[in-house]
């Protein structure tokens, strides 16, 4: 295309060529980034649609099977289980992170001594990899020699010394705690930034009107924190549906699928059972959910701007 344009424009005045290029030029600026993103992000998102109508183990020739892979999703018991776990994981992590982070942010926002120390320490797990955190926690949870059970035993709380990752009833909860551990400092920092944007005058005015601390929290702080609340909730919500590293490394979805989540299921279908087509189809279930979360975020954000 470009070569045609140049040859045609060759003997026309410089101005018009510059004009043409000027119109094209914004696209030239974004082109490299767009190409990279299109090939490696949009490519698989779209190419997956092709794969999802095939039966293919990655070695033999693929066979076209129409919508069979999507039909099979409904009869796959693990899908329902995994989605339920994702929802529970989302409920647990979002609630845990938000409540804890907001609580700590409100405490820290009162101008305490050692504020910088608390902030720096609480944020630290953010720079640690999920792999390190998962392995570390696997040992903390060790039923016989782990830090947690040895703590409970030394406190005489033997009934709390559980088989954290081996018990199907609590394994998912144990993973949720790890996820909260990694991120509560992160969300706290975001809440702190939000708290700092609230004008002091509002509190002064409220105090003159005789509002108690609790009323100030209820009628000033929380409503004005709504934008950062939306950010925190949607970030952790999307994270909960995409979660892979923690369950993959700590439990591989076990015991007895008790911690099986969608991303792990998709990975195992593909690389353990070589169901390439089916694994690709499964991805779109997750994709729909995460896209809904993004849409919700966008909606809530823009309704904030309107206020």
């Amino acid at each position: 295309m470009a070569s045609i344009t140049t040859s045609v424009q060759r003997d026309s005045p410089r101005g018009s060529w510059g004009f043409r290029l000027g119109k094209l030029s914004p696209y030239l600026w974004i082109l490299p980034a767009l190409v990279l993103y299109s090939v490696f992000k949009l490519g698989p998102l779209i190419g997956g649609l092709v794969l999802s109508v095939l039966r293919w183990d990655g070695i033999e020739d693929p066979v076209f099977v129409g919508l069979q892979n999507f039909e099979r999703i409904f009869s796959d018991d693990i899908v329902g289980l995994a989605l339920t776990h994702n929802v529970l994981y989302a409920l647990g992590t979002v609630t845990g992170k938000i409540v804890l982070a907001l609580f700590l942010a409100l405490l820290l926002n009162q101008g305490m001594r050692g504020r910088a120390f608390y902030r720096t320490s609480l944020f630290m797990p953010v720079v640690m990899s999920f792999v390190v955190i998962s392995i570390l926690w696997s040992w903390l949870y060790n039923p016989d020699f782990g830090l947690i059970n040895s703590l409970f035993k030394s406190l005489g709380l033997d009934f709390l010394a559980l088989n954290w990752l081996g018990d199907t009833d609590i394994a998912l909860g144990a993973l949720i705690i790890v996820d909260i551990w990694k991120w509560y400092g992160f969300h706290m920092v975001i809440f702190l930034a939000g708290l700092q944007t609230i004008p002091v005058e509002l509190y002064e005015a409220a105090r003159i009107d005789g509002a108690s601390n609790r009323q100030q929290l209820r009628y000033i702080t929380l409503p004005l924190l709504k934008p950062v609340m939306v950010v925190n909730v949607t970030l952790s919500l999307a994270g909960a549906f995409n979660v892979f590293d923690i369950p993959f490394i700590m439990t591989q979805g076990g015991p007895a699928n008790a911690t099986m989540v969608m991303a792990v299921h998709i990975y195992l279908r593909g690389f353990k059972f070589y169901r390439f087509g089916y694994s690709a189809a499964l991805n779109y279930v997750l994709l729909v959910i995460v896209t809904l979360v993004s849409a919700l975020q966008l909606r809530l954000m823009s309704s904030n701007d309107g206020d």
């Binding site: 980034a33 190419g47 990899s129 002091v200 509190y203 002064e204 934008p227 991805n283 995460v290």
Partner: protein, 300 residues
């Protein structure tokens, strides 16, 4: 800071008229909440710090001591675990691999997304809004695993630095563009106009005038991408087959699966080697790290 004073003064003003005895209790009750607040904060900080410190302690213990002396400090500085972990998990190579991939990713993302972010900030063009919308809607979407894998196989990019760099960088592009765009929008257009009047082309104005004052945005994007690439596990798991190409997270996971049941002290040594460089970097540059890693969420 002013906010704090305001909140603190409120009980005092009311209690000024009361007798000395109640003044004392007021002082105490003021002190107690402060103590209580510190106690709560220390508790939640200890929950974070202790396991990390404990991991480092345990790396110096002997295998028997890891089990017998669970809480305490190591009785001696046993460095065998480090020697063993370094050799068997091939950590030297893994650290270099991670460094190549992280630096490569940062360089690629900074260059591509600053140029693109500038266009989104300063130019008007037809599909601007549409392209931004595509970014917003797809950036959090889970990339289909198998299609991604097949793509890398077809391009011959498995088991290579380039594959890891391209894969990691592509994921970071949208957010980085948004960060640059927001920053460039805050730069007055007069700067660019002045440069253009002086005869600079748009590109020269961008490179000579805009980029030199864009350090903060570059730092933000660089930290965000560096931490992301350094800690990435999933793409390495997907693409890397040969042991000498493993990045740190993958090397740690493989080591954990092979030796996690027998030699915990070596596992902790490996974890410490894998974590400490980043943690030190974080402590030195903490302001920048916290600002950079929360940038995406605070842009609003």
């Amino acid at each position: 800071m002013d906010k704090i004073n305001v909140v603190r003064q409120s009980p005092l003003t009311r209690e000024d008229q009361s007798d000395p005895a109640s003044k004392l209790t007021v002082q105490l009750s003021k002190l107690l909440p402060a103590l209580l607040r510190h106690a709560i904060l220390i508790f939640f900080t200890a929950i974070i710090l202790y396991p990390v410190l404990w991991m480092v302690f345990a790396s110096f213990k002997t295998p028997g001591e890891v089990i017998s002396n669970i809480w305490g400090l190591p009785t001696s500085l046993n460095l065998d675990s480090y020697v063993s972990a370094w050799a068997r998990a091939n950590l030297g190579t893994a650290l270099l691999n991670s460094l190549f991939v992280s630096v490569g990713t940062v360089a690629l993302v900074v260059v591509l997304s600053s140029i693109a972010g500038y266009a989104f900030a300063k130019f008007q063009f037809r599909f601007r809004a549409l392209i931004l919308l595509i970014f917003i809607f797809t950036m959090q979407a889970p990339t289909p695993v198998i299609p991604l894998y097949v793509l890398f196989v077809k391009l011959g990019l498995t088991d290579s630095y380039l594959g890891l760099i391209l894969g990691t960088a592509s994921g970071g592009i949208p957010l980085s563009i948004f960060i640059f765009q927001a920053y460039f929008q805050s730069i007055p257009s007069e700067l660019r106009e002045a440069a253009k009047i002086d005869g600079c082309s748009e590109l020269v104005a961008f490179l000579r005038v805009v980029m030199p004052i864009s350090g903060p945005a570059v730092a933000t994007v660089a930290i965000l991408q560096f931490v992301g690439a350094w800690n990435d596990f999933f793409l390495s798991l997907l693409l890397i087959r040969s042991p000498e190409m493993r990045t740190v997270p993958l090397a740690l996971q493989v080591f954990f699966y092979e030796f996690g049941r027998v030699e915990w002290n070596s596992v902790f040594a490996a974890l410490s080697i894998g974590t400490i460089p980043m943690c030190i970097l974080y402590l030195v540059l903490q302001r920048w790290f916290i600002q950079g890693l929360t940038a995406g969420s605070l842009k609003g």
